[in-house]
Amino acid sequence: MFALQSFGRNIWLSIATIFIIFLAFVSINFLVLINGISQSAIAAVQDKVDISVYIKTDVSESKIMEMKNHLSSMAEIKNIVYKSPELNLKEFQERHASDEKIQETLKELNNNPLGATLIVKAKELTDYPNVLKSLDNPAYSDLIEEKNFEDHSAAIDRINTIADNVKRGCLAVSIMFAIIAILIVFNTVRIAIFTHQNEIAIMKLVGAGNWFVRSPFIIESVLTGVIGCAIALALVYPLVSFVQPQLSSFFGDMNFNLISYFNANLIKIIGFELLGIIVVNIISSSLAIGKYLNV
């Protein structure tokens, strides 16, 4: 009750404190979203990495299936897609539908010049070297016309670098706001102590225990922290919904949804942020009380 009274009596000071905490949490939430975006972007690019194994035209389907099954048994393999020679030809024709020379050449050929293809996806990027090594197995190397490893590692590295730099920037801003918030809380409690000096002296005179004296200040600082955090979350969530369509069109077929990321981690985000601000405010206000209250 005393905490609420003090909160109300020093309303402008309370609002200023809440505002600083709000700014700190907006930057922290922005960091969370950047993390989500970069994780999704990386996952999307990772998904495009695969090994295309072009099989010779004279290899029977049973042999190809045997090879496919053997490769599938490897722990590193996520999945293997078999594309028949007919399907490859069809796709080739569709890809080069506007190229007359290729269409004529294909018409002149009696047989399908293309063989089957195995599209091999590994579970992790780091698994591809092992997969490539296994394809060098003499049992299968004779069956293989060519291997094509679409290595997007350069793109992934670049995304990682950009994401890391952005995260570092956001982290620096977040830390800066967090430090300012701690100092503001410290100062707010100090001012509250000065404002209530008379009341505090009387509390101690009539036998108030230490916690009776300390707790209104701690509760007040926790209250300002929780309100600041709640306002930041209440602002960021609709903002994310507003920005989502633009993000979806930007990322195209990457199927990226920031709202889903936010929802999936909502409990964690709210939990950590609330816990963090409560702990920080308790520590900050306890330090201020210990320094200026002599209890």
Partner: protein, 226 residues
């Protein structure tokens, strides 16, 4: 009840506020501690409520040696000693009722108990009709009565009054002293710290005179002669 055994208090740098004080106050006594400004009267009060600790000696209140009292025990001590000051020490934004109730709230008393006891205590100090006035609406004498009511709320065995009439006129001063005497009649040990000669001489009670931090006189039925 109260025993100061060879108490010395030195404030840095080397200011001796009290020197080798030996003072024993029995339960139910009414004792006036008198002396000029700077003689150490308020220092004794501050020692008794553990606001400061002595440099040497032993201090026992109600059988409890508070010489080396721990800070977490001080609230418990202060709930057993009622204190009244010259400047009343009331919270201006609280009513009379709330100011007195505050002393019970800090001890964690339930609201039902507060609602029962506070009016009884206000009745003792003759302020029951002014329970919902604010301090600014009271006279000096009435403010001091509120302070006394708050000091009495825990039914302390000891009531310390440090210059309770310092800001009051003669009529109000008499009223406050009469109230202290009435409280003493109920069995509460009263220690009155004052430099008001007329009050002390009218009481015909024990008078302990301090001079330069030492007890210069201690008379059962004394007078303030300085």
């Amino acid at each position: 009840m109260i025993h100061l055994l060879d108490i010395t208090k030195e404030f840095p740098p080397k200011t001796l506020a009290l020197q080798n004080i030996n003072l024993h106050i029995e339960p139910g006594e009414f004792v006036s501690i008198v002396g000029l400004s700077g003689s150490g009267k308020t220092t004794i009060v501050r020692l008794l409520i553990a606001e400061i600790t002595s440099t040497k000696g032993q201090l026992v209140i109600g059988g409890w040696d508070i010489t080396k009292i721990k800070s977490n025990q001080i609230p418990c001590l202060r709930r057993q000693i009622g204190v009244v000051f010259q400047d009343f020490k009331l919270i201006h934004k609280k009513t009379v009722f709330e100011n007195v109730a505050f002393a019970l709230q800090v001890a964690g008393s339930p609201t039902s108990r507060i609602k029962t006891i506070v009016p009884q205590v206000l009745d003792i100090v003759d302020l029951k009709d002014k329970a919902y006035r604010y301090p600014a609406q009271l006279s000096g004498g009435e403010k001091q009565r509120v302070a006394i009511a708050r000091a009495l709320i825990h039914r302390p065995k000891v009531l310390l009054a440090d210059e309770p009439t310092g800001n009051l006129d003669a009529l109000n001063s008499k009223g406050i002293i009469d109230l202290l005497l009435k409280i003493n009649e109920f069995g509460t040990t009263v220690v009155l710290v004052t430099h008001d000669k007329d009050i002390v001489n009218s009481l015909k009670k024990r008078v302990v005179t301090l001079d330069g931090g030492r007890i210069s006189q201690d008379q059962r039925v004394g007078k303030y002669l300085i």
